[in-house]
């Protein structure tokens, strides 16, 4: 069996929000990538941003400063 890992998942209300975050993170060399929303989370948009749990504060600060929108941040085992 695959070993589950603790992961940061950021969810979005719209695909546009997800795309904006992807572009912003790429432009600012912030960690993570787009994955489908894991089933244990309910979110508006089926896309989410996956990163390591330790990046949570850094991402939250950067996204907030950049004026980007998201729904929620979760740390889950996947």
């Amino acid at each position: 069996m695959r070993q589950k890992k603790s992961t940061l998942i950021i969810t979005f209300a719209t695909t546009t929000q997800a795309m904006a975050v992807e572009k912003f993170c790429q432009d600012h060399e912030l960690p993570g990538r787009i994955i489908p929303v894991p089933r244990e989370i309910t979110a508006g948009c089926g896309l989410s941003w996956k990163a390591a749990p330790e990046d949570r504060e850094r991402l939250a600060d950067a996204l907030r400063d950049g004026g980007l929108g998201w729904e929620e941040m979760h740390i889950i085992e996947i």
Partner: protein, 378 residues
């Protein structure tokens, strides 16, 4: 063929636009409907294009750029979703049926009352009327940026100031100017800008949209699949999803994206000055001929359109002869702008419209002048 019907649609598109559509059709899935690479590639292209459109038109938020299949759909969404019972709306005699018919329908349904800013015989709007027509319940001014019939532009900065001073919305039909004339929603105080992709933007047909100022609420006109919030019974409320039910024309949007790159590379000002030069050259060539009536005002800002009649000849016949005998494509008849024809006095005769694009040449213009001269003589 010499194609001078660019106000209807630009026939020649930059090669990069064609290539982008072909590439997209080989690689793009459904935007916003998955996280596999083909769906994501569509989502990225669509998002990127929103950013470019927002930048081009001075829309402060890329997520307030909503894609539609043309400006008719954008106008229907805007006009159908902005007004409530009892609202008063001001529009102008210059408008196209895609503004008029949605407004007439709302008027007939008893939702809005409607007044028109009149145009004179040269097709110029009476600017003082924008202000004198305003009432306590006026919700919006809806107006075109340029007449598709005469090419005359409306001074949007001036109208925008009036709208702002009275706290009413300004909704603009930019079908004739998007891509061909600089537009800045901030400077012009535009609340909703409706555009189509297939004319001045030189993008594929089936692209267009609306740019919405932050804080302006438009109710959705169609509801359905959005790829997000799938278990909600209502259409998601966040823009752009709120107004974008259904699969987008991502292949076309990929073409629009390439067209925007092309426009930025060449520069809208460069394109505008070439088109204006061609229009001016044609105007000077035909206006000195006997028996020619040219419509509109040539002393004010205008798009690359010259509309004329020869004597009292049926415009449809003239346009047909131009095509059959000279290989010149123009548009005759009524141009979906009934009130403008009334103002110009051309409801019976129609008028022959010559409209120029970035890809036309001076030689083509000169041939068109020669053709008109021959027809005027005969």
């Amino acid at each position: 063929m010499i194609y001078l019907d660019n106000a209807a649609t630009t026939l020649q598109k930059p090669q990069c636009v064609i290539d982008a559509v072909v590439r997209a059709m080989n690689s793009m899935g459904n935007a916003s409907r998955g996280a596999h690479s083909s769906s994501l590639s569509a989502s990225r292209v669509v998002y990127d294009t929103r950013c470019k459109i927002a930048k081009l038109f001075g829309c402060s938020r890329a997520d307030h750029v909503v894609f539609t299949c043309n400006s008719t759909e954008a106008l229907n969404i805007a006009l159908g979703g902005l007004f409530v019972s009892g609202d008063h709306v001001i529009t102008t005699d210059l408008e196209h049926n895609s503004v008029l018919r949605p407004l007439y329908r709302l008027e007939k349904e008893g939702i809005i009352s409607l007044n028109f800013v009149p145009a004179d015989v040269k097709g110029r709007p009476d600017y003082s009327a924008f202000e004198t027509l305003i009432r306590r319940n006026t919700k919006a001014i809806v107006c075109t940026h340029a007449s598709n019939l005469t090419g005359n532009m409306i001074d949007l900065e001036r109208v925008g100031r009036i709208a702002r001073d009275h706290g009413i919305l300004l909704v603009v039909d930019a079908s004739q100017t998007a891509g061909a004339v600089p537009i800045d929603m901030e400077r012009m105080n535009i609340d909703v800008l409706c555009f189509t992709g297939h004319k001045g933007l030189m993008a594929p047909q089936g692209t267009g949209g609306l740019c919405i100022r932050e804080g302006v609420e438009i109710r959705p006109f169609k509801v359905g699949g959005s790829g997000v919030h799938s278990y909600d019974k209502e259409q998601p409320s966040a823009y752009p999803t709120r107004l974008e039910a259904g699969t987008l024309n991502s292949h076309g949007i990929a073409g629009l994206s390439a067209a925007l790159d092309y426009l930025n590379e060449v520069g809208i000002e460069t394109i505008r000055s070439k088109e204006t030069m061609l229009m001016q050259r044609f105007y000077e060539g035909v206006s000195r001929l006997d028996g020619i009536t040219v419509y509109g005002d040539f002393d004010f800002e205008r798009t690359a359109v010259v509309t004329l009649n020869i004597g009292d000849e049926d415009s449809a016949i003239i346009s047909d002869v131009l095509y059959e005998d000279y290989g010149i494509a123009t548009r005759p008849g009524a141009h979906c702008a009934p009130r403008m024809h009334e103002a110009l006095g051309t409801t019976e005769q129609g008028a022959v419209r010559f409209s120029f694009s970035w890809f036309n040449t001076e030689e083509e213009v000169d041939e068109a002048i020669r053709a008109v001269a021959e027809l005027a003589e005969s």
